[in-house]
Symmetry: C2
DNA sequence: GTCTATAGGGCGATAGAC
DNA sequence: GTCTATCGCCCTATAGAC
C-alpha cells in the first residue's frame, strides 16, 4: 500500500507524541501535527476519529491479544484467568512498546485532562471486553464483570508503577507484585469478616 | 445571590436531562439547553466547564461525602473501609437522587460515548480521592490505590445492577451483594494459589 | 479539498443585588 | 458606590458534511 511516503498513521502518531510533549496538548492543534507529518489536517481525521485518538491507536490490538490470551487460558478461577490475560498484555507492552516510549506517552497523557479521560475510557472498554471473554468461558455474568474490573484496576496500578518509577522493574513484574498485594488486601478484608 | 429567577445551574441541569433524553445528546446543542432554561449559551459555560459537565455536577459533593465517611470510619482493613465509604455514598444516591432519576440519567449517559467517557473519568477521580483518604488513615500508598480502585469497581457493578434492573433492590443492597461476590472471587483465586 | 456548524474561551457592557 | 451574574459579539479549533 502506501503512496508517496508510506505509513501516514505512524508519522502522525510520532508527530503528535513529539508536539504534545514539546508544547503541550492544548497548545498543539491538529493542523500542527498534520504539518509536521507532512500531511493535511483532513488526512489526520481520515485516520483518527478525533484529536485524542492519535495517542490510543494501539489499544484495540492490545485488547484483542488480551482477549485471545483469556480464550486460550487453561481452567482456573475467573480472577486468575483475567490476570493471566493482563499479564499477556503486559508482556506485549514491555516488548513492543518498551519502557522509554511508554514513559514518554504516560507523561503526555497525565498532563491533559482530556487525554486522561480517554485513557479511562479505553480501560473501561478493555474491562468490558475481558468480561465478555470470561463469560464465553462459562463464567457467570456478574462474576465476570467484577473479575474483569478488578483485573484492570490491578493492571492500572502496575502500569502506573512501571511508568512512574525511574529504575523500574519490568511491567510483568510490577503486575505480579500488584496481584500479590491484591491477594493480601482481599485476605485482610476477609479476616475481619465476622468482627 | 441569584438574579431574577434563581438557581440557574439547577434549571440548566433539568433542561439538559430533558433535552438529552428527548432528542439525544449529540442532537442537542448547548444553545438549545440554555434556551429551555431561559438563559444564554454564554451563561451555560459560566456554570459548567463544558457540555458534558452539566450531567456530572453533583459528583464532587458526593465524593466529599464518601471521603468524609472514610475519615470518620472506625479501624479496619483498607478494602473494608473503602467499601464502607462507598456504602455511605450509595445511601446518599438512593435517598437524595432516587431510583427513577438515577435510571433516567444512566440511560442518557449510556447513550453517548462522550458521556460514558466523562463518567469513567469521574470514577477515576473518585478512586484517587478514596486512595488519598485511605493514605491519610495511615494506609500504605500502594495498598491504598488498589483498595480504592477495587472498591470503586465494586460500586460500579452495583450501580449498573441498580439502574439496569427494573424491579431493583436498593443500591445499598446491590453494593452489599457485589461486595459479597468480590469476597467469593478473591477466595476462589486464593484457593488456586498453590496449584 | 472546501465549507460549515458547534464547542468553548476572551472581553466588555449591563443590570440587578447589597 | 461595589460586586456579581448575565449577555452579546468577537474569535479559533474541532469535527462532520458535501
Amino acid at each position: 500500500m502506501g503512496r508517496w511516503a508510506s505509513d501516514a498513521p505512524g508519522r502522525l502518531r510520532a508527530a503528535a507524541l513529539e508536539l504534545f510533549g514539546e508544547r503541550g496538548y492544548d497548545e498543539t492543534t491538529v493542523a500542527d501535527v498534520a504539518a509536521r507529518a507532512g500531511l493535511s489536517e483532513r488526512t489526520f481525521f481520515r485516520h483518527f476519529a478525533d484529536k485524542r485518538e492519535v495517542l490510543f491507536d494501539g489499544a484495540r490490538a492490545l485488547e484483542d491479544e488480551i482477549v485471545a490470551a483469556i480464550a486460550d487460558a487453561g481452567p482456573g478461577p475467573s480472577l486468575r484467568v483475567a490476570l493471566e490475560g493482563m499479564t499477556a498484555g503486559a508482556r506485549i507492552l514491555e516488548g513492543e512498546v518498551g519502557h522509554e516510549r511508554a514513559r514518554r506517552r504516560a507523561r503526555v497523557v497525565a498532563s491533559s485532562e482530556e487525554l486522561r479521560e480517554r485513557e479511562q475510557m479505553k480501560m473501561a472498554e478493555l474491562s468490558d471486553a475481558l468480561a465478555a471473554a470470561l463469560r464465553s468461558r462459562g463464567c457467570a455474568p456478574g462474576e465476570a464483570g467484577l473479575a474483569a474490573g478488578v483485573a484492570v484496576v490491578t493492571f492500572e496500578v502496575a502500569f502506573a508503577a512501571w511508568t512512574g518509577g525511574d529504575v523500574g522493574a519490568g511491567l510483568v513484574e510490577e503486575l505480579s507484585r500488584a496481584a500479590g498485594a491484591l491477594a493480601t488486601l482481599a485476605a485482610g478484608a476477609r479476616a475481619h469478616e465476622g468482627s
